[in-house]
Amino acid sequence: MNAAALANPALAKDEFDPASIVTNDPVVRVEAISKHYGATEALRSIDLQFERGKLTTLLGPSGCGKTTLLKIIAGLVPATSGRIVVNGRAVTGPGPERAFVFQDFALMPWATVMRNVAFGLELKGRGATERNRIARHYIEEVGLQGFEDKYPHELSGGMRQRVGIARAFSVNADVLLLDEPFSAVDEQNRRKFQEDLLRLVEMERKSFIFVTHSIEEAVYVSDRIVLLSPRPGRVSNVIEPRIDRTANPDDIRRDPGYLDVVEEIWQGLRHYAE
């Protein structure tokens, strides 16, 4: 892939994006969602559609309610009004079609990597042999083979989040909800992580909803970026970066198209920064 083709986002879009045919089949629909915490208005009438097979990012400054919106989609936090439709059905709580990756990893410190990854299947009552086989597959997929019998405190932050991601994959949900998954990971590992995430997105053919406050991270990994503005949280813009992800990571990060999108988003958000 040469730099000229990358520099033209529209061109890159045409040879990419096989999933555009299913635009009328949103995997998750957010309909008029509002959320109040007492007198505080966290989210005001959010309407969004998340395309199947795509990675959509919720991006915004702190206080814009992006994590709240993700947790409402996950069914972990009740909305004050509005509804969430997943695969055409309105949902009120967590369901098997959604899996969550937590910012603080949420690993059980008393359980090994293997048991942590298999925990979603354990809760569903799958047999030990079956769930360990599935767990082992995803442990390898996230690059943690050899660490199956380690405990979380024996792993680095980055490795712990790999456990969290493997656990979310192992329940075979349609939608993966990632709440700032790399914010507790150091910068070097973060980049490696983003590249690995793109590889997993490619391999697993699932839908991803990703929350981050890093503009670069959002542009690098997303098919679509939903910009939220704070107090109360509202959708302020939707951007499709149209980056060709078949290029190698270093080229993408130097691509003028990529840098333009980063700049465009920054211009949109800068007045929220104090």
Partner: protein, 275 residues
């Protein structure tokens, strides 16, 4: 110390290597320091007894001799048999009831409102003052003594269990919910394991309080068991035997707490064994 060992590493004389291996042993084994600390304590006791600081204060060796004499003639074993009855019964009831009530309070706001004030008052109350009341109602038998143990052990176990559940990592609970874990799975696979360190801390405090309770009962209600040995030997000025009885109950309490700790790290939280 390190300078000396550096020198000796070139041509180690016999004395220095022994020092080194002793130091290595001390670094690896925590028990070395336990033994050292006990040795220091017993030596100080022996010296204090020999001065003597009081004619009613026996030396360590006299006390040890009295202890073996009492074990030999069976009085110590019989005394422990009597003391352990209300103790084991009381601690077992307090542990089961206390952890149960505490966890229930942690899980339900209604039960918290119902029980929390009661146990906070009970924990603050000087329980020894209530022991005569228990005698008044339940007499001087096993029931009264068991109640004395429960009165001391239960509040601390309840309040710690309650706090343990309230401080469970909320994101672990969310994680369990996000994978559609049932309430039951949430309680038994997430909340109780995550609460277990604080749960066990409460249990250890409860057991220690139980020992206080049983001694209060045996000294304030009627002298039986170890309490009887203490009272009797004090009354006949047999101080070595009295101290042996006191030391024996302290040792029993310490060993029980150590066993509890061992159980916690080896059975409940296997990850704590590593590193």
């Amino acid at each position: 110390m390190s300078v000396m060992s550096d020198d000796t590493s070139v041509a180690p004389p016999a004395g220095a290597t022994r020092m080194q291996s002793l130091r290595l042993f001390a670094e690896r084994r925590r028990s070395f320091w336990v033994v050292l600390s006990l040795l220091a304590l017993f030596t100080a006791w022996e010296i204090a007894g020999r001065i003597p600081i009081s004619f009613a204060f026996p030396t360590f060796l006299d006390t040890l001799a009295a202890f073996f004499e009492m074990v030999g003639d069976g009085t110590m074993i019989r005394a422990f048999f009597l003391t352990l009855q209300p103790l084991v019964l009381g601690v077992a009831i307090s542990a089961l009831l206390g952890i149960g009530i505490g966890i229930a309070m942690g899980l339900s706001d209604k039960l918290e409102w119902l029980f929390a004030p009661v146990f906070i008052v009970l924990q603050a109350a000087p329980m020894a003052a209530l022991v005569p009341l228990v005698t008044f109602v339940y007499g001087i038998g096993l029931v009264a003594k068991t109640l004395a143990v429960i009165m001391l052990a239960l509040p601390v176990i309840v309040l710690n269990s309650y706090k343990a559940v309230r401080h469970v990592n909320p994101s672990l609970v969310d994680m369990c919910r996000s994978f559609q874990g049932s309430r039951r799975q949430q309680i038994f696979r997430i909340i109780i394991p995550d609460a277990s360190p604080v749960l066990f801390a409460g249990l250890r405090l409860g057991v220690a309080a139980g020992f206080i309770g049983v001694m209060l009962a045996e000294l304030l209600i009627t002298p039986t068991g170890i309490g009887d040995l203490i009272t009797y030997h004090r009354s006949v000025a047999n101080y070595a035997h009295m101290y042996a009885a006191v030391a024996a109950i302290i040792a029993a309490s310490t060993v029980t707490l150590a066993l509890l700790q061992w159980f916690e790290t080896n059975v409940m939280r296997p990850e704590k064994r590593r590193s």
